[in-house]
Amino acid sequence: MDLSLNDLLSILSATIRLSTPLIFAAMAGIFSERSGVVDISLEGKLLAGAFAAASVAAVTGSAWLGLGAAILTGMALSLVHGFASITHKGDQVVSGVAINIIVSGLTVVLGIAWFHRAGQTPTLPSSARFMSIKLPGADAISQVPFLGEIYTKLISGHNLLVYLAFVCVGLTYWILFKTRFGLRLRAVGENPKAVDTAGISVDFLRYRAILIGGILTGIGGTYISIAQNASFTRDMSAGQGYIALAAMIFGKWKPTPAMLSCFLFGFLEALSMRLQGVVVPFLGEVPVQLIQAGPYILTVVLLAGFVGRAIAPKADGVPYIKER
């Protein structure tokens, strides 16, 4: 197959679009796990966010209200996770899985009850979605060879949330490594006792970290249902929360590497869309199923240790129990 610049740009542009929810969820995971709380409920929070955004946007006709509802939903689920695993020192994985299961079922039940469409929400008009925006000057320089094409086709033309994802990565880095809150957050994920003896509340810090995670997954969920798509469909997050978790680990709990591994997963998915039906020399037509399984196979391969040992925050997954 021949790849023109145009093809390449469209694959890369799709990569960015497909990576966006992963980036939000991966940054949420970084906040949560850097503070010592394993957050497997990223998946459930994405899905709940997607449902809340689509429902509220359908009822009110406002994408922004949808976004707000999704953020609140994400935060509410974070509080549930925190109540079980921070306040009551429960097992963080169990609490996370419970949230995923509840959300998977509850979104369908509520969808049927509210919209009577077999769990789907009504298809939204453009006015109730986040639509792609043209960056200034995109038309003007579109005729400039190469650079102009890159600007118009790759950089411009995404929706607002895509750009927000990039801002989030920078913001995450800045918060974690340049602020007092970030220093304490990283410390509490490594050695909560040190934080406690320094006179800082471990629980309150962890709650704040997972609430930030709730906000970010809410935005990610919004993107899935009312930016990337025009309605909510059942289980539409399709494991992206787990893939984000894998990307976060592959990125060693650091914002920029995590973003890059989100791109890797996004790229693979974009490629798989592109490759469907394409005849590859010597192999013939690659089965669609195999191509679609690509990102998931990559997840397993990466996590199986092909990338060198990923060192998690030391207290990750360990509830902090203070003797009294």
Binding site: F177, R184, E190, D196, T197, A198, K314
Partner: protein, 510 residues
């Protein structure tokens, strides 16, 4: 203003049914160094944790500078000017020294400002007290002595007027400990009040002004250090008189039972753990191995116990030969009459979740004495456990209690009992009295000497120089995987061993 920095009145604290502190009254005078001594479990650490707000007392009052002060958490303690150097350092290992110092005492939302401020403040501390430290080093790359210094700086940076140190010298070499004492004396001179918790009486004698002795959660004596003695303190701690010296007849070394030739070990990362070791141990003698922990003593024990295969050289131990090509395993080693008391008793000596009777046969669990055709002989195992508990004075004498619920000393006695019960030809012992209280130490020492007298060859690895000096016939000193010296215990003292352990004659300074 009063001359009392801290006063505790009627402090009581219990954990479940265990009363850790009973109605404790304590006065600590300003600008003094006050020692708190007691056996493990006497309640020293609990008392200090209450003062630092890590625990809350069930009853009682705390007066700081003459004013009653409520200390609910560490924040309150820090605000009251109390700082603590914990026994297990409260440091974030993958942070730099500077990040650890400012954690929780930042000056503003942004780190850049805190960092600039901390740098200049720490410079002052360095100059005033000789607390030198590389601020940009990561905690996990600096030695424990330096890590402890970071803890001290952390406390002072938060404006501590009273500094509590919990067992500060447990992890230090004698030279590092001496440096720490110099720093503490400098702090005292500038008006800081210091409370030091320890069970090492020598340190109490040469450092403190006043000393309080705790036993069973109570303070049993408050003394002026200048008016007491080690012997008196030891007696007060245990509640009966204690012999500081071990009574032993001269050794009668016999045939060589353990012979090590050119032994070398390179680990998976290519690091030389053991390098060209040569020594032997004869029947009826105790050979001590001294060294700062992490200089190959642990690996040596592992190779001899069959837990690890050496990469060079050969070992003849009882009837077994160990070479790189002739790998062995702990089972073969045990069958050849070699017993091993591991350094880390909770990880390797017993299984904390198992009952005492189950732990009492570990390593010998395949013996027909404990096994029927299909089932284990529970009755025989329990009887065996009760029997060795009786002979080795393990308390409580109940084979059904979880191993984890015995005190450190009694766990250690149980392990020693298990290993000594079969009169081994060679006995490998690692850190027999680490975290064990004085009463039990005396008993354990007697047992080790008794094994020697029965004709066992004993190899004793220990971080306690007192112990090595009083038990061993010869002492070999390890540094960086090599043997850097072998001395007769009669001719050695702490100072000369300490210098060898740090290889200081080569000008190494910490």
């Amino acid at each position: 203003m009063s001359d009392v920095a801290i006063e505790l009145k009627g402090i009581s604290k219990s954990f479940g049914s265990v009363q850790a502190n009973k109605n404790v009254d304590l006065k600590i005078y300003k600008g003094t160094i006050h020692g708190v001594v007691g056996e493990n479990g006497a309640g020293k650490s609990t008392l200090m944790s209450i003062l630092y707000g890590f625990y809350e007392a069930d009853s009682g009052e705390i007066y700081v500078d003459g004013k009653e002060t409520a200390i609910h958490n560490s924040t309150d303690a820090i605000r009251a000017g109390i700082g603590m150097v914990h026994q297990h350092f409260m440091l974030v290992e993958n942070f730099t020294v500077l990040e650890n110092i400012i954690l929780g005492a930042e000056s503003g939302m942004m780190l850049s400002h805190s960092i600039a401020k901390a740098k200049s403040e720490v410079k002052k501390l360095e100059q005033n007290y000789g607390l030198y430290i590389d601020l940009n080093a990561r905690i996990d790359t600096i030695p424990v002595g330096q890590q402890q210094r970071v803890e001290t700086i952390k406390a002072l940076y938060r404006g501590a007027k009273v500094l509590i140190l919990d067992e500060p010298t447990g992890v230090l070499t004698p030279q590092e400990a001496e440096q720490l004492f110099d720093i503490l004396r400098a702090l005292k001179k500038q008006g800081t009040t210091i409370v030091i918790i320890t069970h090492k009486l020598r340190e109490i004698m040469n450092l403190t002004d006043n000393v309080s002795v705790m036993r069973n959660g109570e303070i049993v004596a408050n003394l002026k250090t200048s008016q007491t003695s080690k012997e008196e303190l030891a007696e007060l701690m245990v509640g009966r008189s204690i012999r500081m010296e071990i009574d032993k007849s001269p050794a009668k070394p016999g045939e060589i039972l353990l012979e090590v030739k050119k032994l070398g070990l390179t680990d998976a990362h290519g690091v030389r753990r053991l390098d060209n070791l040569n020594f032997n141990v004869r029947a009826g003698e105790i050979v001590g191995v001294a060294g700062v922990s992490g200089n190959g003593q642990g690996e040596l024990l592992e190779v001899l116990a069959g837990m690890r295969t050496c990469t060079e050289g050969e070992v003849k131990i009882s009837s077994v030969a160990i070479t790189p090509s002739l790998a062995t395993n702990p089972k073969k080693i045990r069958e050849a009459g070699i017993a091993h008391v591991p350094e880390d008793r909770l990880k390797r000596g017993l299984i904390p979740q198992f009952s005492a009777s189950e732990s009492s046969i570990l390593g010998y669990h395949n013996s027909p004495a404990y096994n029927g055709m299909i089932l284990t002989k529970t009755g025989a195992i329990r009887r065996h456990c009760v029997d060795i508990m009786e002979r080795f004075d393990v308390r409580p004498q109940n084979p059904d209690i979880k191993s984890a619920n015995f005190s450190g000393g009694n766990q250690q006695k149980l392990i020693l009992a298990r290993e000594m019960d079969r009169s081994p030809k060679v006995l490998l012992v690692g850190q027999p009295t680490r975290g064990v209280d004085i009463g039990a130490i005396e008993f354990i020492h007697k047992q080790i000497v008794a094994m020697r007298d029965e004709g066992s060859a004993v190899l004793l690895v220990s971080g306690e120089l007192d112990e090595l000096l009083s038990l061993s016939n010869r002492i070999i000193v390890m540094f960086d995987g090599k043997i850097v010296g072998e001395v007769d215990a009669k001719d050695a003292d702490e100072k000369s061993l300490g210098l060898m352990m740090t290889n200081s004659h080569e000008g190494a300074s910490v």
